[in-house]
C-alpha cells in the first residue's frame, strides 16, 4: 500500500472524455428539459420568504396531538393553513396567511393564544412574518442577484479568456441552475432566501471548476499549437482530473458534517450544495468544455486558427 494515497491516482490518465460528449450532451439536454417540465408542472415549493405569510414554530413541554392543532388552527379563519410535525413529537410548525386585510402581528398573537389554549406550556422559538410587499421584493432581488452573478462571471471569463469560453461557461451555469431547480422541484425542498445563497454558491463553485479546466486549456492551446481541439480538451481535463476529484471530495466532506448535525434550517442548504457540487463538477467536464467544440476559440491569430482547422481534419 502506497502512502500518501495521492500516488495511487495515476499522474497521467488518458480518459477519452470527448468520446462520451455526445451521449453526455443528450443526457444533459434530457435532464434540463425534465427539470424545466418539473418546475412548470410540480412547481417549486416557495417558502414564506417569497410567498409571504407567517410561520410559527411551537414547542410544548409534552408531546402534542397534531391533529388537534390542525383542526383548531384550521378553524381560525386563516388562509392556507399548514401544520407540520417538526423533529420531535412535542413540536409543530404552523404556516398560514393572515385573513385578507388583517394585521399580521395581531393574527400571530391570536394563533399563539389558540396554541396555548390547546395545551399550555408552549414556547415559540421561531416566529417569522413576511408581508406581501417584502416577499415580492425578496423574489425580485433574488432573481436579480442570480442574473447579475451570471452576467458578471461570464464577463470576467470573457475578458480573462475568450468570448467562446464565456459562452461555454454561461451554458454550464444555465445547466447547473436549471438542474438544481429541477432537483428542488422534484424533492419539493423549501425554496427560501438561503436557497438563493446556495444557488449563488453553486455558481461560484461550478465556475471555479470550469476556470481551472479552461485555464489548462488555454495553456495547452499555446503549448501544442497543432493538437486538435478535442484532444486539447481531453488532455486538459485529464491533467486537472486529480485536482477536480480531490476538491470535490474535500468540499463534500466539509458539507457532510453540516448535513448530519447542522439542524433543519441548514439541511436544505447543504443538500442543495451537495447536489450542486456534483453537478458543477460534471458540467465543467461535460458541458463547458464540449460547448467549445461547437464553437472553438481562436488560437493565436487567424493563421494559427486556419492551421488548426487544417490539422483538425482527419
Amino acid at each position: 500500500m502506497k502512502w500518501p494515497f495521492i500516488k495511487i491516482i495515476p499522474k497521467n490518465t488518458k480518459f477519452g472524455f470527448v468520446r462520451f460528449s455526445i451521449p453526455a450532451a443528450i443526457v444533459s439536454v434530457v435532464l434540463c428539459i425534465a427539470s424545466l417540465v418539473s418546475c412548470f408542472t410540480l412547481g417549486l415549493n416557495f417558502g414564506i420568504d417569497f410567498k409571504g405569510g407567517t410561520v410559527v414554530e411551537a414547542v410544548w413541554n409534552k408531546p402534542i396531538n397534531l391533529a388537534e392543532v390542525r383542526e383548531r388552527v384550521g378553524n381560525m379563519n386563516l388562509r392556507d393553513v399548514g401544520v407540520q410535525d417538526f423533529q420531535e413529537p412535542n413540536q409543530a410548525m404552523i404556516r398560514f396567511l393572515p385573513p385578507e386585510g388583517a394585521d399580521a402581528s395581531a393574527t400571530v398573537d391570536a394563533v399563539k393564544a389558540e396554541l396555548r389554549s390547546i395545551m399550555p406550556g408552549v414556547t415559540f422559538p421561531r416566529v417569522e412574518v413576511v408581508g406581501p410587499k417584502v416577499s415580492e421584493e425578496l423574489g425580485v432581488n433574488g432573481a436579480l442577484a442570480l442574473g447579475i452573478a451570471i452576467i458578471l462571471v461570464v464577463i470576467y471569463i470573457w475578458t480573462r479568456f475568450e468570448l467562446q469560453m464565456g459562452f461555454g461557461s454561461i451554458v454550464a451555469l444555465a445547466h447547473d441552475i436549471i438542474l438544481t431547480l429541477g432537483f428542488m422541484s422534484v424533492t419539493q425542498l423549501d425554496f427560501s432566501l438561503t436557497t438563493i445563497a446556495a444557488l449563488l454558491t453553486i455558481i461560484g463553485y461550478s465556475m471555479n471548476d470550469t476556470v481551472v479546466v479552461f485555464d489548462r486549456m488555454r495553456e495547452n492551446m499555446r503549448k501544442y499549437k497543432k493538437m486538435n481541439f478535442g484532444e486539447i480538451i481531453d488532455l486538459s481535463t485529464n491533467e486537472t482530473l486529480s485536482r477536480t476529484i480531490i476538491t470535490a471530495l474535500t468540499t463534500f466532506l466539509a458539507l457532510l458534517g453540516l448535513t448530519v448535525v447542522g439542524g433543519e434550517t441548514m439541511q436544505v442548504f447543504t443538500i442543495i450544495m451537495l447536489f450542486g457540487v456534483f453537478i458543477g463538477t460534471y458540467s465543467s467536464i461535460y458541458v463547458a468544455a464540449p460547448v467549445l467544440m461547437l464553437w472553438p476559440p481562436k488560437r493565436g491569430g487567424e493563421a494559427a486558427a486556419a492551421k488548426a482547422a487544417v490539422d483538425a481534419r482527419p
Binding site: 415559540f124 476556470v211 466539509a254 447542522g262
Partner: protein, 549 residues
Amino acid sequence: MLHVARWRILAVLIVSLLGLIFALPNALPQSVRDGLPSFLPNKTVNLGLDLQGGSYLMFEVESQVVYKARLEAVADDLSRELRGQRRPGELGASKTPILFSGRGLSPEGDVVRVTIENAADVPEARKRIEALAAPVIGLSGTSSGSDLDIRTTPGNVLEIRLTEEAKVSMTRRAVSQSIEVIRRRIDETGTKEPAITRQGVDRIVVQAPGESDPEKLKRLVGQTARLTFQMVDESVSPAEAAAGRIPPGSVLLPQPGQPNEPFVLVRRRALVTGDNLTKADPGFDQRTGEPSVTFQFDGAGSRAFGRASTDNVGRRFAIVLDDKVLSAPAIREPILGGSGQITGSFTIESANELATLLRAGALPAPLKVMEQRTVGPELGRDSINAGALAGVIAMLLIVAFMILAYGFIFGGIAILALAINLVLIIAAMTAVGATLTLPGIAGLILTIGAAVDANVLIYERMREEELAGRSTALAIDAGFKRAIVTVLDANVTALLTALILFYFGAGPVRGFAWTLSIGVVTSLFTAILMTQVLVASWYWRVKPKRLPI
C-alpha cells in the same frame, strides 16, 4: 531558484500574529476578556439575531397619513381664507369673501378641489391658496419650491395637490421623527442595544437582540400613540348616532372594554393633544384603586384645557388614543392645574406601557409591520452548537483526508494553512464588525472545504512539473508560479458571487456573504503566501531529492 523574499516571510508572520491577536478574544470567557490590557483588542465577533436570539422587525411608515393630514389642514385653512375669516391671532382688515360651492372643503384622495362661483375671483383665490403653501426643505437644508401644486382646471375649479418634492421631504421627516420616537420608547424599557435603522425611503428596521417578547416590542413600537382630548358631541342621542346620523364635524369612535357604551360620538377638533404633555406616569385611581395613568400638561396645554373645561362644566369630554376612546368622563369643575389622570380598563402592565408611549411622544404616522423574524435565545444557542459541531466534524474529516492524500508534510502544510485561514477569517470578521449568522457558519464550513483547493492546485502542479522531468526545487517553483494564475482566476469568480450576495442578500444571507468573501481573500493569502513560505522552508531544511507526493 526557490527563493522566497524576506518580505513574504515577514508578511506571513505578522499577518498570522495579528490574526491570532484579533481572533483570540472569541475563545476567551468574558471574565478573562475584561482583564485584558487595554492595548489588546477585546472585541468578539457579532452574532446575528438567528444565533443569539432576538427580534427583527421591519416597519413601513404610512406616509399617506401624513400627506392626508397636510391636505386636510390646507383644506381647513382654505375654506377660512376664502370666506375671508381671520386666522387666530391674525391682525389687519379682514379680506373680501370669495364664493365657492359646498359647505366645507375636504380632500378627495390626494387632491383638494374647490369650485369658485365667480370666474373673476379665480386669480384672487389662487393667490390666497399660494399664501398657504409652505416651502419644501431639501436634504441640504435649502428650500426647493412650494409644497403645493395648484392647477386651474375648466369650470373655475382649482385643484390642489402635494408636489412630489414635498411628499419626499415629508416622508423623510416622518421617518426620522419616527426613529427618534422609537428610540425613546425602546430606551425606556431597557432593552439592550437595539439597532434602529432607516431602510430605503420609508422603512425602519428595529433589531433587538435577546428580546424574547417581540409582541411587546411590536406594541411598543408599532403604536402611533396619538393622544387627544376631544369634547363628546351630545347634540344627538347615541341611538341616532349609531343609526348613522352624525353631525358634520363629529365622528363616531369605538370605546373598547365598555359594553354599555361601545361607541362615543366626539367632536373632531382636539382640545389638547399628547404633544402638550410633559409628564406621564402609571398610578392608581385613588377612588377605585384601578390602574391609571397620571399626566401633566405643559403651559399651553394647561391653558387650553383650563379654558375648555371652564366653558363646558357638566358636559363630557373623551380621552382618545389612536382613534379609540379610553374614557369619557364628565367635567365636574374647571380643570386648571393642568394635571389629570386617565382611567380606562387598564392592567398594571398596560398602564405602564401607555405611560411609556406618552412620555416618548406620538409617531408622526402609523407604522405597518412588513416583516418580522424572531428567534428564541435557546434555538440560537442550539444553532451555534450544531454549527460548531459541524465545523469540528468537517475539520477532522479534512485533516484526515489531507494527511491520507498528501502525507504528513504536504498534508500538514495544507492543514496549517487552513487553520490559520480560519483564524484569519474570524479575526477579520471581528475586526470589521461583520455579523456571523447561521448561513455564515455554513459559509465558513464551505470555506474549509474549498480553501484546501488552492493547496491541491499547487501540489498537483508540482507533481506534474516533477513528472515532466524538472528537479525538485524547479518543480516546486514552477508549480507555484503556474498554479497561482489558476488560483487567482478561480477565486475571482467566487468573490464576485459572494459580493453580489452581499449586495442583494438580507440578514442571515448577508452573514453568509461576509464569511464567504472574507474566506476567499484570506484563503488566497494562506494558500499563496503561506504555503509557499512553508514549502520553501521545508525544502531548505530537508533538501529532498524527490517530492513526497
